[in-house]
Subunit: 103 residues, 2 copies
Amino acid sequence: MYIAMNRFKIVPGKEEDFEEVWATRDTHLDQVPGYVEFRLLRGPEHEDHTLYASHTIWESEAAFRDWTRSEAFKAAHRNAGDNRGLYLGHPQFEGFQVTLGSD
Amino acid sequence: MYIAMNRFKIVPGKEEDFEEVWATRDTHLDQVPGYVEFRLLRGPEHEDHTLYASHTIWESEAAFRDWTRSEAFKAAHRNAGDNRGLYLGHPQFEGFQVTLGSD
């Protein structure tokens, strides 16, 4: 099992706008082989940003990598350049292998 | 739903020792009210460390906070000072509220 996380630093006061972007997006992820589950996480607030993380569980890292090379991935990220005013810097990707625990 | 994560920077070459610490610990977490699930995650390798994260799901932040004030928590962390040679710096705690997705 593999967890793909993207960390987003959101400008204070823009949290609702950011959540709205995720609530209204259309990813078709549930049709992608190896996709298990998506969550959006709201983390700690700092002076200059609120941390969020997307948290997607995949059956394997290979399934995730396959998705990033697919047309579905391109379609899901087509509008990623919009909403620039919400972010402090670029998102930071971190992929995790589950080494202990379920699966 | 709440996800408590601790980020650990592990000295290169000490990854197996670190995983062994977690594999052999005895937390009794499954007897704690509000506890849902534990995973240990292995993240990206950097030049001076390998990132790991503990990943514990709780029914609520309140359940997690209650645990941190409990005798069970003290017992689980009694030996946290051992194994100092494994770490680069202190672990970094981040708590996340699930805002979209399951629950």
